[in-house]
């Protein structure tokens, strides 16, 4: 092992993590500040959380954002799984290069470009075929699915490439039809990847300001849009309270997903061991016979 200058590595790591976490902790700490002046400590208080509960604009926006994020994540997982399956398992098919380019480019495409181009599409479509009439939740969901499915595609594609495909082979050998192989063998194995894809798509959608601003009509304001217009006016303590609530939800969600995945892995390992033991027993009995 290269152990040269471990102190340098540890210092770099500690400073880097401090850089990542100090802003987040400052948000949390000041959400409990009594004073309206965000950076002057005026004593402990939870009044900003109470105010949050009475801010109808924020509550409406949060509800809209949650609905959009849930639908987006579900659609993005469905489409991204199909795309990842096609890219990882179908070999070289006609149009694969274009497909693969379209599937990964949204990962890095600047949001202003994606937002503008989708809005112009919706306007053109409305002129041509009358759909979507006006813009709102539907157009936001379509826009979010388009960029979120790229993340799901990459996750599913890399999970499928790493996966030991002998199980799929075996199922095919035993006469299962490909669709059945997918649902009975492949899907349970890649389920943790789909779960992380769903969570990622959910948070990406919940977080997006720029694309939603372009494609939302005047009536629909998502949570980031409301936060952005408030933040432009300056720092306000109820936004800190809101940030704390969101961070708590995310931390809880990630911890739960991590626990679930670890348990899943343990179960898999146990199943594999049991299968191995059964196999061993069978061989022993055959030998004895």
């Amino acid at each position: 092992m290269n152990t040269a200058r471990p102190w340098f590595r540890m210092t770099a790591l500690a400073l880097g993590l401090a850089f990542l976490y100090i802003p987040i902790f400052s948000l949390i700490v000041y959400s409990f500040n009594k004073s309206r002046l965000v950076t002057v400590w005026g004593g402990f208080s939870t009044k900003w959380y109470g105010e949050l509960l009475h801010n109808q604009q924020i509550l409406d926006a949060a509800w809209l954002s949650l609905k959009v994020a849930a639908v987006t994540a579900t659609l993005a997982v469905a489409l991204g799984t199909l795309a990842g399956l096609a890219l990882a398992r179908f070999g070289r098919f006609k149009g694969r290069t274009l497909f693969s380019a379209m599937a990964t480019a949204p990962l890095v495409m600047p949001e202003v470009i994606t937002g503008l181009s989708l809005l112009l599409l919706f306007v053109t479509l409305e002129q041509l075929i009358g759909w979507p009439s006006g813009r709102g939740m539907t157009t936001i969901i379509i826009a979010h699915v388009t960029f979120a499915m790229a993340y799901v595609t990459v996750i599913v594609q890399s999970r499928l490439s790493q996966m030991d495909d002998s199980l799929e082979e075996a199922a095919l050998d035993l006469g299962a039809r490909p669709a059945k192989v997918f649902f009975v063998v492949t899907l349970p194995i890649i389920l943790p990847a789909l779960l992380s894809g769903w969570l990622l798509a959910f948070t990406l959608s919940l977080d997006d300001l720029v694309i939603a601003s372009f494609v939302a009509g005047p009536g629909a304001s998502t949570l980031p849009m409301v936060i952005f217009s408030k933040v432009r006016m300056g720092v306000s303590p109820d936004i800190n309270a809101l940030a704390t609530v969101l961070i708590a939800i995310v931390a809880f969600g990630v911890a739960f997903a991590g626990y679930w995945m670890a348990r899943q892995q343990r179960n898999e390992a146990r199943d594999a061991q049991m299968a191995l033991a059964a196999n061993q027993q069978m061989i022993e009995s055959l030998k004895a016979g």
Partner: protein, 319 residues
């Protein structure tokens, strides 16, 4: 035939891809075509529309542009290709400055991300497996919480009566607060902060895969640690460096939120210019021309990224 084919391929142990031909053309086409047409309709065609509108004239109407194709009489189609928007972009040096400034800010931020992210990724990749997972989770976790709110957090830290200035004054290091918010410095801090996880993860992935016996061999042959680092570790981690840099650079060029919240209102970044043209000036054709010009610049790095990505995650793709 089908059974025989199955048997033959089972004997040959042929790759799974061949076996899956049994999905038949229909099954495979159905699976691939749903996401394919979705992306065609909602990702590719929109760019063609942006291109089209970038050639049209601004009018005060809804939508605020003149159609390109215009039926003069029943059989005469008049196409007005208006290059005026692009001429406008070239003539007005506001746009040039915005493009160059965005590229510079994104480029410098990428380098700073690399300088901070590399040692972190290296430290994570060389720690014990238990610690590795914990540290990795710590790096990813901020990325899961709202980007907008994390940028917002920096307002509280950087402003004149913010935490950093207050701390420096309390320590007696400065008498007057330093103007940090609404400067380019704040934009760099914001971009580096927001995009750092995107740099660390691909770097970690390539450093973690590295065969450490190579370093032992180098040490045995008398090379010093830094020499071994430059000649072995760094070249082997190049795929991670490239992926990380592209993941930071490309979106940072078009960044809107960070310069809008933390930056100097007078300094220009192209994402902000596009936003202003669209929302404040309601000039959709010029906004489209700005987008197309930005895309022309980014198309090479994006294609490079896409190929690297496909090579990385599609290594298992079967022919």
């Amino acid at each position: 035939m089908k059974e025989a084919g199955g048997l033959v391929s089972a004997f040959k142990g042929s790759p799974l891809g061949n076996r899956l031909r049994r999905w038949g053309v229909n099954g495979r086409t159905a699976v691939a075509s749903v996401p394919f047409f979705w992306l065609l309709l909602f990702f590719l065609i929109p760019f063609i529309i942006v291109l089209k509108i970038s050639f049209s004239q601004t009018v005060i109407a809804m939508p605020p542009y003149e159609p390109l194709l215009h039926w003069v009489s029943e059989k005469v189609l008049d196409i007005k290709l208006n290059l005026g928007n692009y001429a406008f972009l070239i003539e007005d040096n506001l746009y040039w400055k915005a493009y160059l400034n965005s590229i510079m800010v994104a480029g410098i931020s990428t380098i700073i991300c690399l300088l901070i992210g590399y040692p972190m990724a290296y430290a994570i990749a060389r720690s014990t497996p238990t610690w590795r997972n914990i540290l990795l989770l710590l790096v990813i976790l901020p990325f899961w919480s709202s980007f907008l709110l994390r940028v917002y957090a920096w307002i509280g830290l950087l402003k004149n009566n913010g935490l950093i200035n207050n701390a420096l004054i309390a320590l007696g290091l400065i008498d007057q607060p330093i103007q940090m918010l609404q400067t380019d410095f704040a934009v760099y801090v914001g971009i580096v902060y927001s995009y750092l996880p995107f740099m660390i993860l691909p770097l970690y992935a390539s450093l973690e895969k590295m065969d450490l016996t190579l370093l032992e061999a180098a040490a045995d042959l008398g090379s010093r640690p830094w020499e071994a680092f430059l000649k072995i570790t760094l070249p082997l981690s190049m795929p991670g460096v490239v992926a990380g840099c592209l993941l930071v650079f490309i979106p940072a060029v078009g960044e809107f939120v960070i310069p809008a919240l933390l930056g100097d209102p007078g300094s220009l970044m192209i994402g902000k210019v596009l936003w202003t043209e669209f929302f404040n000036n309601r000039d959709w054709p010029v906004a489209s021309a700005v987008a197309i010009a930005l895309l022309m610049f980014l198309v090479i790095p994006i294609m490079y990224f896409q190929r690297a990505q496909d090579a990385e995650s599609g290594r298992g793709a079967r022919t």
